[in-house]
Amino acid sequence: MARIATRRQVAISTAAAWLAGFLIFFPILWMVLASFKTELEAFAIPPSFLFFHWTTENYATVQERSDYLHHALNSIIIAGGSTLIAMLIAVPAAWSMAFSPTKRTKDLLLWMLSTKMMPPVGVLVPIYLIWRDVGLLDSLSGLVFILCLGNLPIVVWMLFTYFKEIPRDILEAARMDGATIGRELVYVLTPMAVPGLASTMLLNLILAWNEAFWTLNLSTLNAAPLTVFIASYSSPEGLFWAKLSAASTLAIAPILVLGWFSQRQLVRGLTFGAVK
């Protein structure tokens, strides 16, 4: 009797998990479906789910009208570059705050987070003027720099909490066994920190990839990433859902694939230290 009940419980919770997963995934699925419809079908009420005339015409139009590879490459450079630089700065910062905190560490952390509380549009004009004067408008370096600055507080916070979870006793034990600082870093700390580092990097990469305020406002042509590519397919006068969906599908494809492959790391990182 008990076993049947358990099985039923398992079945119910499995079904619930699948349902929740499907609900979260649905908007993306809908976008992908719409990208294979004609403009008229994409706007049709009631909408058709699977039984419509499938067409790849939108992808052809998007390919013809814009240079996808140019935008995608810019997105990779901007997201990758800003993530790497942010990690280089944040790892030592979080490290020292986690392992040798001072009286001011807490205030410092809170102050860093407070910079994220201001809406970016508040500093658009000053930043635009500075960027104009140093010649950073429409340059990849300018975007890498601003996105790195924007994400730095989150990266430091995330790494700080991961490093905090690493028991200092283990380090002491390693030292007792005669490990040098180098060995301690490579053989003891790194393996324990990897899930945290990986998930921080991935989250930062996704945030930078999707960032659509600075990338739209500080780029024109040369440095324009995929956000600009998507924004060029929306229109107030004329039907555009299908082409916009095709452009968006192309834009999220790389990061989706990356997320797929690294989800094990991500989940491990997110629950890291949850159970001790």
Binding site: E39, L40, F43, A44, I45, R65, L124, V125, Y128, L129, R132, V134, G135, L136, L137, D138, S139, L140, S141, G142, V144, F145, L216, N217, T220, L221, N222, A224, V228, A231, S232, Y233, S234, S235, P236, E237, G238, L239, F240
Partner: protein, 437 residues
């Protein structure tokens, strides 16, 4: 610390900045509307005639483009050489000296051929500050088959009484047909474009001669209550989230007996590829109440050159090419006369080839001629603009009033409450901006 940042910025800029071009490269900012996309496709004709000029396009959604271009021009960022702007921006920006007057468009450009009302809308003190690429007004589009079935005949210049009565008669909610589809989505360029134009026909105005907001007047009350009642009885469900595109989809699917919106929609609803009712559409003026103003607006997407541009000469060449009579002929030879950008030149409306394929040409021209941006309302006003007031503050106040009116349409607030909220928020903004004390 400042020096360190500066050095870092400079160093990274040097490493990653892109190489300069030896020839003139024009960067053109534009919106994603079909006429502009067509222009991009035809760029090779311009570059063949001007081999020393390269053209690069930045296409953005209208609101994104407006923010992007405004930031750049206000800070003299110099990112664009040609801008696509509307009739709202032209007078404001020209007065701030942000635009280069277009005096050198060439001997054969023929500015006298531009439609007078459109030319007025992009000129300040008689000087052209932008060249119109396509122009539009609004008009009534209706289903000839449904009118015939109901025994109704649409006059060329209908009154609101007739339109309201017809809308009620033509509504058949069981068959999914609604008497009238109108904009309801909040925004200064969405529902407020329509409602401001409608209010003009009811004798209302945004501001009196002393810039006092006028939402507490009986004219505005009549406008808004008529609109809300009409949409409740004869409009589609969920109308408060409908903009141009949503109504276009509804009309093309055969769900609207009437639709009052931009004249550019005419070529979309009569195109059999996109519309189920392509051969059953008639056109008439936007309605009036006999006070001398119809509920139609005036807009022109235009090309302009930002002040301080170092490539003015090449930019002028491009603008002259894109807005010339020859460009019209080029489009016609490649894609047919129906695809020509409408609403800018008198000669187009005298062209028999165009008139043959465009049944909407005559009502479009008449609608454009009916709108007067310099004298938009029955009573005098201190502002320029038919469906907007061309002051920098209008985008903000227009959108906040639009939200109130959209809420009145959805039923979450009453007409009176919406009007009094609109009045107080507009008063507050106008005081803050120093128009009134």
């Amino acid at each position: 610390m400042k020096h360190v940042y500066g050095a870092l910025l400079g160093a990274t800029a040097l490493v990653l900045s892109s190489p300069a071009f030896s020839e003139t490269t024009l960067t053109i900012a534009t919106v994603n509307n079909s006429d502009m996309i067509r222009m991009q496709g035809l760029t090779s004709d311009f570059t063949a005639k001007n081999p020393d000029i390269t053209v690069k396009w930045v296409t953005l959604e209208e609101n994104v483009l407006r923010q992007r271009v405004t930031t750049d021009i206000a800070t003299k960022g110099g990112q664009f050489d040609v801008l696509t702007i509307g009739t709202y921006e032209v007078p404001i920006w020209a007065k701030k000296n942000w635009l280069v007057p277009l005096d050198n468009l060439g001997a054969d450009y023929d500015t006298g051929d531009l439609l007078p009302k459109i030319k007025d809308a992009v000129s300040v003190s008689g000087k052209l500050y932008a060249a119109p690429f396509y122009g539009e007004s609004s008009m009534t589009m209706y289903r000839t088959d449904l009118f015939e079935k109901a025994g109704l005949k649409m006059p060329d210049n209908p009154t609101w009484d007739f339109v309201i009565d017809a809308a009620k008669k033509l509504t058949d909610k069981n068959a999914g047909v609604y008497g009238i589809c109108l904009r309801g989505k909040a925004g200064w360029g969405e529902n407020m474009a329509f409602l401001t134009a409608m209010s003009n026909s009811y004798g209302a105005r945004w501001f009196d001669e002393k810039w006092e907001p006028q939402f507490n007047t009986p004219e505005w009350k009549k406008t808004l209550s008529t609109y809300v009642d009409l949409m409740k009885e004869a409009g589609p469900p969920g109308a408060s989230s409908n903009g141009f595109n949503e109504n276009l989809a509804l009309f093309n699917a055969g769900k609207c007996a009437m639709w009052i919106d931009a004249t550019v929609a005419a070529s979309m609803v009569t195109n059999p590829k996109d519309s189920k009712v392509a051969d059953k559409v008639g056109f008439a003026m936007a309605p009036n109440t006999g006070l001398g103003k119809n509920a139609n607006w005036l807009w022109a997407w235009s090309l302009a050159i930002p002040a301080g541009s170092k490539k003015t000469e090449a930019a002028e060449k491009f603008i002259a090419w894109a807005t010339s009579k020859d460009y019209t002929k080029l489009v016609a030879s490649k894609e047919g006369w129906a695809s020509v950008p409408p609403g800018t030149r008198t000669s187009l409306y005298n062209n028999p080839d165009y008139l043959k394929v465009a049944p909407f040409a005559k009502p479009t021209l008449e609608s454009i001629n009916l709108a007067d941006p310099n004298k938009p309302t029955v009573k005098p006003v201190p502002y320029v603009g038919v469906q907007y007031a061309a002051i920098p503050e209008f985008q903000g106040i227009g959108t906040s009033v639009g939200q109130q009116f959209s809420a009145a349409l959805s039923g979450s607030t009453s007409v009176d409450a919406a009007l009094s909220a609109a009045q107080s928020s507009t008063e507050r903004e106008m005081k803050r901006a120093g128009y009134i004390k």
